[in-house]
């Protein structure tokens, strides 16, 4: 029993990381209807910035603040320069552009920082909390805490500030939002900036566990997609719930289903994506879109 609970706890830790990247994906989808295939790579790039700051001698938390600020600005810039020209274009065009961004950011990081693995400092202390035969490492607790905090901050932003109100208006109906005087373009850029910031948090959380290298987020991205699909692409709460479920499912499948083992765990997100899309395409928490043809 303790072994099972242990696996669940570890699954939650992994799931929290998927949740944070899924949150970034969902933020952008809500505002622009775009699934950003480059989200993971942007997070990886942000993490490199943090690494560079730490390597230059800055204390970790200062480096983090700096990284988040740079990521926010970078996200807004990408929206303005790269995404704006194809806004409203067919889905195919937008997907291809974000895939282009994916390749470009990945290669750019490789060019600047080489493809060699870098050690990333773990912000949380080592050791673990022991209770009833189950040990929860401080690192896992830290990851869960950070994701909960990000979630809480986003909730406050969306529900209790004027900016958040404007953002929700744009997400619901851009045309009406523009008519009541909301700067839609600026709000969309803000959404991208926020998503890049949340993504950066997820990158910084992943890096100590996976080692920092340009392809670090490739594996995480597919789990984040599964999380967002499961929770519903238009629901931030769903993204977090989806992330945790995917993390636990993946860990349990790897531990208890002999055929899957640790190497075929990557099949879990595929099965989840396919299953959700066939059975409940809007996801657990999403709204079903009724289309008038």
């Amino acid at each position: 029993m303790a072994g099972f609970v242990q696996q669940v706890v570890e699954g939650l830790g992994a799931g929290a990381i998927y949740a944070s990247l899924a949150l970034a994906l969902v933020l952008i989808y809500q505002f622009t209807g775009i699934v950003n295939f480059a989200q993971g790579e942007l997070a990886m790039f942000s993490t490199y910035i943090a690494w560079q700051c730490v390597a230059a001698g800055l204390p970790f938390w200062l480096a983090l603040v700096l990284t988040l600020a740079v990521s926010f600005a970078g996200g807004m810039l990408i929206e303005r320069v790269i995404i704006r020209p194809v806004e409203g274009a067919p889905e195919l065009t937008i997907v291809i552009v974000t895939v282009g961004l994916f390749i470009f950011v990945n290669a750019a990081a490789g060019w600047i920082w080489t493809f060699l693995i870098k050690d990333f400092p773990n912000p949380f202390p080592g050791g673990a909390l022991e209770a009833a035969g189950v040990s929860v490492s401080f690192s896992t607790l830290g990851v869960l805490g950070v994701v909960a905090a990000v979630m809480g901050l986003l909730y406050l932003l969306f529900q209790h500030t004027k900016i958040g109100l404007g953002m929700r208006a744009v997400a619901t109906n851009p045309a009406s939002a523009r008519l009541v005087g909301i700067r839609v373009g600026r709000t969309l850029a803000l959404g991208w900036g926020l998503a890049a910031t949340v993504g950066a948090v997820s990158g910084v959380l992943v890096a100590p566990l996976l080692f920092l290298e340009p392809n670090m987020m490739g594996g995480v991205l597919i789990y984040a997609f599964a999380a967002a699909t499961l929770g519903g692409f238009d629901s931030p709460l769903g993204a977090v719930a989806g992330g945790l479920i995917v993390g636990v499912a993946e860990t349990l499948a790897g531990a208890y289903v002999g055929v899957i083992g640790s190497d075929l765990k990557v099949g879990v997100p595929l099965v989840i994506i396919l299953g959700v899309l066939l059975l409940r395409p809007q996801g657990l928490f999403g709204r079903a879109v009724v289309e008038r043809a």
Binding site: V99, G110, W111, L277, A293
Partner: protein, 337 residues
């Protein structure tokens, strides 16, 4: 009255006079002649490179059918390429099948797999299809490593390349090149025929407007699934030829990077045109090998930037640009009305 003066109202779509078909045939014949002549003039390594261009062209032809003509996106065509390559390799390795027979089997396996995956995938909207195909491409590599007894695991399978028959007097690289050329020409004829048929018209209709296509009697799910399966088949055939040419398959040759590179090549080569896959093949083959000298990451930077730029300024890719250029040249040559 001369027709050129009556352009008072702006046409909604700029009409381009289709070039005289004779020019097109002359161009194709010239191209084919050059393709047959080339291996006798080049060193073996360059012949090999050209062979690989043709292999990629066949795979891109399949991807083009799906992305360019049916408007559905796939980020996982490397997986079908791998399935074709492994089918060919396993048939050669296990059953010692004569290699010409591996091609139809590999293509068939890819077709059936495309059909099987296409049924659930095609019920999905475009975006989700991209997700599912990406997940498939990522999942394939550990899957290939797992079934070690059949696939050779991480070490892969090493095979003998097809030997040139004595009567031909060709070297191995030249023989492989001609085999690939035959497959490529056949694939292009097949694709061209397919696109001119009822299927091709149905695909264009559903790409341009799903609702209108459905009203006209095109069964969307049927034709989308069919397009997916056909395009998987071409990728599988290309994979099989790849096995002949390289004589070695391993899971790490077919990572998700291959899928993304294929899509990049197709976009830059030109979506929805028949010459796009060839230009894309040249691009996929030569851009990395030339730019790698600058930096390991240079091909990625170039690919990424070019995809974005091409989507902005020339959605029809290099093929579209070439067609525009050719159109201008042909216009300068007076022709009889």
């Amino acid at each position: 009255m001369s027709a050129t003066k009556v352009v008072t109202e702006p046409a909604p779509v700029r009409e381009r006079r289709p070039p005289d078909p004779r020019w097109r045939w002359a161009g194709l014949a010239l191209l084919l002649a050059a393709a047959v002549y080339a291996p006798f003039q080049l060193v073996p390594f360059h012949v090999f490179q050209l062979t690989m261009v043709l292999v990629y062209a066949v795979a891109l032809l399949g991807l083009n059918l799906l992305v360019g003509h049916a408007g559905q996106i796939s980020l996982g065509h490397g997986a079908f390429f791998a399935v074709g390559a492994y089918s060919g390799a396993i048939l050669l390795d296990r059953w010692d099948l004569p290699y010409p027979l591996t091609l139809p089997v590999a293509a068939g396996v890819a077709f059936v797999l495309g059909l099987a995956l296409g049924v659930p995938a095609m019920r999905l909207r475009g975006l989700y299809l991209a997700l599912v195909t990406l997940a498939i491409a990522i999942f394939l590599v550990p899957l290939l490593k797992r079934f070690e007894a059949v696939t050779g695991g991480s070490m892969g399978l090493t095979l003998a390349k097809p030997a040139p028959p004595g009567w031909s007097g060709l070297a191995e690289d030249q023989w492989l090149y001609f085999l690939t050329l035959i497959v490529t020409v056949a694939a292009f004829l097949l694709a061209a025929g397919l696109l001119r048929s009822r299927v091709g018209r149905a695909l264009h209709a559903l790409r341009d407007n799903e609702t209108a296509a459905e009203v006209m009697g095109v069964r969307l799910s049927f034709y989308k699934t069919l397009a997916f399966a056909w395009s998987a088949m071409f990728a599988g055939a290309a994979g099989c030829v790849y096995t002949w040419v390289i004589g070695f398959v391993s899971p790490d040759s077919f990572t998700v990077n291959l899928s993304i590179t294929l899509l990049a090549g197709l976009v830059v080569g030109g979506l929805g045109s028949l010459s796009g896959p060839v230009l894309g093949g040249l691009f996929v083959m030569f851009v990395p090998s030339i730019s790698q000298d600058v930096n390991d990451a240079a091909p990625g930077v170039i690919f990424g930037l070019l995809i974005i730029v091409v989507m902005y300024v020339a959605p029809t890719g290099l093929a579209g640009l070439a067609a525009r250029l050719a159109g201008r040249l042909v216009k300068k040559i007076p022709r009889k009305e």
